[in-house]
Symmetry: D2
Subunit: 341 residues, 4 copies
């Protein structure tokens, strides 16, 4: 951490700041430039303890040097983390595709979609039982009934189940049925929820918030990791920008930025990322080409009848095309698409 003082800081003020730093058990090194004096803070100490330094009147700026997350960083763990869910692996040389309906609407529909995406090459099944909806008047999901259908379907087809949990009170229920607990974009900074899902030890799929930087995302992952749960899969799903031809703007660079900064696997959700069916195929190809460890894609037999987000769901035949392209691009990167046994 470097502390930049305002022009005209007096010797007394400099001594004051140095003594504060030393009182925290850290070292301080003063460097007087032509226009500014800067103070370097040296030591192992948790830099966040010294954060109030920014509030001292004659401090102009505090520049952190180390990333604020630890367990999530590549420095802490240089090799890739591979998250394994019932034999399905996320990370490393595999490209893993999660597919399924936005919301579980009924048993038959779920089994039809699941069978279709499994046949095309998906290795995990997604589906919402509890749905976060912008409007209180929209379909909110089937609740436990939906979870039961997911479990039943996952067991019959041998596919791990990914579903969202939105409320700490519901973790015991959702945990009973799901293989991967999903934290949605709107809950990425619901810190109590992060802590509690961390405690379950289950694999967690953590989606990036709409206004979260990559650093924010990794700090949210840190909440889960700090509970001793290392099974975190990150998911880029688009951020909010001024561009209005898509629902969100997929931040494709984030895939490589995350892989540079962290050891955790990262997948991309082109359905929420674009909000447009015609963009899912090109953006999925781009995600894999950028190095993503997988995809999460919405598929529906009949999008115009979907109770939720039909406009961003692929038809099964389009999903087959997507898997064909994904397989070939994975090869270019020396990877292969994950297979169910």
């Amino acid at each position: 951490m470097i502390i930049i003082l305002q022009p005209g800081a007096t010797d007394e003020q400099i001594r004051d700041i140095v003594s504060r730093i030393k009182s925290l058990g850290l070292g301080a090194m003063v460097s007087r430039g032509v226009h500014r004096t800067i103070v370097g803070v040296i030591g192992e100490g948790d830099k966040l303890r010294v954060k109030p330094l920014a509030a001292i009147p004659f401090v102009e700026k505090v520049v952190p040097i180390m990333s604020p997350y630890k367990l999530a960083s590549r420095e802490f763990r240089p090799e890739d983390t591979i998250v394994e869910v019932k034999g399905v692996r996320f990370g490393g040389d595999e490209v893993t595709v999660i597919a399924g309906p936005c919301a579980v609407e009924n048993r038959d529909m779920l089994f039809q979609i699941a069978s279709a995406v499994k046949a095309a090459g998906a290795s995990a099944l997604r589906g919402g039982a509890f749905k976060p909806r912008t409007s209180p008047y929209s379909f909110q999901g089937l609740g436990e009934e939906g979870l039961k259908y997911l479990r039943e379907c996952g067991d019959e087809l041998g596919m791990p189940i990914v579903t969202e949990v939105m409320d700490t009170r519901l973790i015991p229920l959702v945990e009973k049925y799901a293989d991967v607990l999903q934290i949605g974009a709107r809950n990425m900074q619901n810190f109590n929820l992060l802590t509690e899902v961390g405690k379950t030890g289950k694999p967690i799929l953590l989606k990036r918030g709409m206004s979260a930087t990559v650093k924010d995302l990794l700090l949210s992952a840190e909440y889960i990791l700090s509970q001793g749960n290392n099974n975190v899969i990150l998911c880029e799903r688009g951020i909010r920008t001024f561009e209005d031809s898509t629902r969100n703007t997929v931040d494709i660079s984030a895939v490589a930025v995350i892989q540079h900064a962290s050891h955790l696997p990262v997948i991309v959700d082109p359905s929420h990322g674009t909000g447009r069916r015609d963009l899912i195929l090109p953006v999925s190809r781009a995600a894999i080409a950028a190095g993503a460890n997988g995809l999460m894609v919405e598929v529906h037999m009949c999008p115009q009848e979907a109770l939720c987000d039909g406009e961003q769901a692929l038809l099964p035949e389009d999903f087959e095309q997507l898997m064909r392209d994904v397989r070939r691009i994975a090869e270019v990167l020396g990877k292969r698409v994950a297979q169910l046994n």
Copy 2:
């Protein structure tokens, strides 16, 4: 709602869409232009039921005409809502200022700050007992101990207490001590939390999310209102943009946009909105001049010792200056600063 069809939509497709609309008990009116055919949907029906229409392949775009929120809209309730908390009013001709520390750090500090802000003219006391922190390694608040200090301090000084609740499980606890439950920006779309605080019937201070549009904010308010709780105070606290000289960008127009679209009172938080102490005074004046119904401001006796966000806290003497300016600007708008009895 207007449905714009793609060029070349056939008569059969048009008939299909009209029959879908009619099957929902709504009227349909077809208008054939030179380049496009459009279908107007007429009726009282909840337009969200027809949302899947956007997923029909030959539909180009669905344009909503009515706002998606109802209870929060000016059309539903033309006159201003005034939220009253123990005699302190938010809305109408009063400008109401909530002030206090970011986090409750200890009993003495809280009483000192509260006395100072009360003397300067604040009419409600804020303070965090449970703090949402980006990093798991930051100070997370005193928990119930903090709530007790707040209650004690509020009772002694006769000030209503505003504090954040972040988890549905904690509502009963926080509700026991607080007069106003605050929903933080990061939880603005934590829909379960919105529903549950709605059920308490307590006044709710709902902060705008960092990437939420005004429409999103009003839809979140709708979650609370739809539980029969009309005591909702909205709070503009800055949105995320590319500008990096401030922590967030205060959307000053949002004050008037909200007041045009909704009957709910709206206040501004210049502390989180800017993240810089030197900007709190000018932005507070601007907020009142724009017509805001109040402010929420962080004040600390010694910002450099603060455990949380010291760099955006005012000193008590600066807060006095702020209140003097606010009083005079309120007068220009024909308003007056709310007084404690």
Copy 3:
């Protein structure tokens, strides 16, 4: 165009608006809903003439139905435009890569870089002679001397030359040397410049502005096309967002959005798009996988000595790797990398 009236619009107001529309030689169709009256405007007329309708007090909103650009639209020209520059083609089944230094710094350096990128498979040479720099104190380019080196180098190696023109007064000079005139992001809405380069008839490389929507970009292309110049290549180069780990955020979906809306070829600039050397390879792969018609990449023999943007330049050996990956991903999409004769 659809005009949505405010609730309570009177019959007289409706008649007034209908007569305005008719006076413009357009048809009007009135549809009275339960809550709102809407008026559809029918006809070939240039809808922009009626834009002031939005200013009429009882009009709530004007919703355009047709895109505001014409010549740039797919509807106007369904088949892909292929821009040919001295035998090098942009668009269709070819993937065309432009590479070279950010700025032309001296003759030797330019020839070295050009030879290296040609050997690796680039088919056009970029280099700035006039540089738009945020600071007046940064290196501003060699001017005409740089243009001469570019021309000489292009002629010797048989590569078309792409260089930026920033000022209408300099068009005659730059046109004398360059094969493709580049309009930089900061000039995307310099409408006089667009009109004047349109008149040259030369191929134009039009970069997307940092805060321009895809619609804005196509409207800027329309300025060039409306001068009778159809040789426009579009370039996605990142937009400004709150994410600060990259210089800009590459909007990867924009590639497919543009190809859906327009017939013009679109390439991606991963150097400016990310501002980080380590991200150029993954983002280049992603761009081609998304369907881009090419790339524009900065390459330098010794980035730490570069006078401009060294931190986002590839070394020649990294560029070779990039071309190898691009070739294989192009194949997946049934395309091939453009070759120099």
Copy 4:
């Protein structure tokens, strides 16, 4: 400037970087922390010369300490700059209001609007003769005819004239008629135009670009100042964000941020900043309350007949109300509205 090296930087690499810095005539100070080594650069030297340091492979980050602009900074000139135009002053204790139509449409209309805004208290007249329009099919302005009307009207009413110049070729023409040359948001980084208007010595009104940070704006001002022209008035006019209820998002904090960092006067344009007539009054009040040195407001006798941006123009009677409120808020800040003699 501080250079942060990557972990594991070797002694040789550190010596290398120190020798580069010294070769530029600057001092270097090495500080070895537990995790990182940092190198401080000391001296008067233009730090931009060392920018390529960021491109050295083992450099992690370069942190500038000084602002990149000089002449525009408060450090360079601590007291406020007051720009005087024919007796009308911008800056200091005065609040100066520029008003007029978006575009000059004809002579009569211009005189009517000018008389009305003068009567209400505006002290300068705005009006576009050359208009930057997003679409080539929109009204582009009357050109020189418009300039003549402006001059004539300004002379008759004794009001200085503000009008936009968009092209270096047109500077001699516009300069002949105008008192203040306006640089529009879309040309804020048209560096040739900035340099050339700098050379005229005329007062320049520089509008912030839609995706420009405050730092970018001040660097653009630096282009003008570095030509020896100190008469620069800055203008906040809204930035592009995801919020879609307004045309742009007025960055109200920017007023105080600019006044903290620079000595130049800053005004606000609530017309372009919001794009909505109903927001102009509240945002104008907010701007003055935030400390802005003035406003630029669009006024039209009959907005629904305006050829340009009618939806964001005030009626003369609304403008009178605006001036009344502005006068009273200026008083709260110890300022007064500038008067024409």
